[in-house]
Symmetry: C4
Subunit: 204 residues, 4 copies
């Protein structure tokens, strides 16, 4: 019984890892290069330089997926078993993560466009909301957790994790209608901020 | 001998998981975005809104592949070893699952088209038929099963699993020639219905 | 020391499985659908029917990659450890396997073309040659094998495996300059023939 | 505690393996084939022959990713655990590795172009630099290493590994402005050189 449950968590983990690895790798395949009619050194070099906004949009999305992977990894270390609710929330997380190449491509193609910037922020907001909900769900179904959780700390930390990231992404997305580059600045700050380790969910 | 057999099941599982993870992730790469000659905020936003049928077609296929993965996972938990028949049925299941991005793209591109809707239903029907056949095969080759199966229950449940989904998909596909949106409604109901857990194949 | 060697074989296996799973899944992404200016039911249905040669080419390549995976799986069950020679032969096998979507796309696009049919056969020939060479290599480096191999049987069987498939593919490729459909018939027969189990490399 | 750390290394390894397998496989999907208006045998065959520069660029990148995978594999065999620094350096390595299809496509499309050749060398240079930095990092954080490292040998070997490859790639990239084919010759020599085993990082 125990072995069977562990196995389930392992397969969900493998499946999720597969999705994350594919998303992160395939982001680069939207770095399309324009066809150059007269491919002199200057023209090809100019075309390479012109892909710079796409490259930056790609790097940002790459780092965001790495952060999602890192948090998912940390999340899974707390989880002993999955019920159907958590399984489908995890699938929703994968769904929204696998959507990310779409807004990334859009932002890279229309780098100064407010609608593209807003849509990018909105799509970044969705997985963070699901992540928050997964944290809340876990606290309400403590039987899915490994070990005996210290209730006070779990709730407190979960609240922090649960509301910061989505709220800042929403603010960033809203700001994109005011000033495009301000919004992109906010997105970049979130990416850099989340790269560094934060308070752990565990108390050990 | 025993270890070698377990290993085989593990590798088939890993291979299948890889295929499912790739299919589910790559669905998004057919969300192509039209080139906008005059990328004002209004035009880009209108183009984003215009991708809505593609997004819905994508979400539905994503959930269907997750359901296939879930059922495959449950199926594999019953299986002790693979013979050549089951191995090639599993490959056919992967073949039809990996076809799904093709009708999804088609339905997303021609959302009001009866032929596209019919083809989508037909392609959804194929993996469910294979799944049913795999269930029937397993019952006729009980030596491939883990533990001692309760014959009566296995047969009864397998029948339920084996005929419901394909028949409903066929009905949905047929309805697409009568009314396009009726068929899409049937497909959506199947997706939602299969998300929720059903009677288990096991009796433990 | 022993654990480290086993681990290496496992990672090469995982890496190879990943490549096979990706190749098999991505074959479908070359099933491009023509843009239809007037998407009536008749036109869309006609376009679906017109993709039939592509679908058949896709199914054949899918089955071939499954056969390669099956043989690779069986091959790996004999192997205890990898040296640099075998490691790079395995990489060459992956290289030629990952090339297969390219001739598949070509054959699907120009189904009655002799050059496309010849190139398809040539690309199918390459992984079978590498496989044969891997078999020969293993027999000349018996220290890489699990257990104590019965030299006579191993050599005899390896010869059979080592020359049949590539020779038939070469004949098929050559025939494509005489008659296109004759060559495709030969390819199909090889696919069907190799689906069924053959003499095992092991003697247990 | 011990188990949890091992597990982390395993998941980072699985995630990295996934990225490498996807990059290596997807390289072939940029082997686009021109649409032929009059697909006679001669025209199709001429188009196949015309893809030869793309095929060579693809083979070279395939072998480079295999070399990166091999070195990563060897690197991971030394590592006992990951801290945040090493985790993000590994992510940067994956980022630059997953970029490789982009310059490969460019070099294959503009085979005689100096800018394309320079950019290819630059993109090959980036993962080798990160690899060197990861080696240096590991030597400065010996607590992450398995076993007791012999300090003198580790430093000496790491220096060799750490500066050779990036410097040669930089020279190759620089030469591309002098003579395009000279640079490609240098890249090819590096690929072939690194295929063969070198001094090991370990002393056992």
């Amino acid at each position: 019984m125990k072995a069977s449950i562990d196995f389930t968590v392992n397969r969900i983990e493998t499946f999720s890892d597969g999705v994350f690895a594919i998303v992160v790798t395939l982001l680069v395949f939207d770095l399309h290069f324009p066809h150059i009619n007269n491919p002199t050194n200057e023209n090809v070099w100019a075309a390479i330089v012109a892909t710079l906004p796409k490259l930056l949009s790609w790097i940002n999305s790459f780092l965001v997926v790495c952060v999602i992977w890192m948090n998912h990894h940390r999340f899974m270390q707390q989880v002993k078993s999955f019920d159907f609710g958590l399984f489908w929330m995890n699938n929703l997380l994968l769904l929204f993560t696998s959507l990310l190449p779409f807004p990334t491509k859009l932002l890279g193609e229309y780098p100064g466009n407010n609608a593209a910037t807003f849509f990018y922020g909105l799509c970044m907001f969705l997985p963070t909301v699901i992540f928050s909900l997964m944290g809340v769900y876990l606290i309400r179904h403590v039987q899915l957790l490994k070990g005996i959780p210290n209730h006070n700390i779990v709730v407190k930390v979960a609240r922090l994790r649960g509301f910061y990231a989505p709220v800042i992404y929403l603010i960033g997305a809203g700001l994109s209608w005011v000033n495009n580059w301000l919004a992109i600045g906010v997105y970049t700050i979130i990416s850099i901020y989340f790269i560094f380790p934060r308070t752990k969910l565990t108390t050990d």
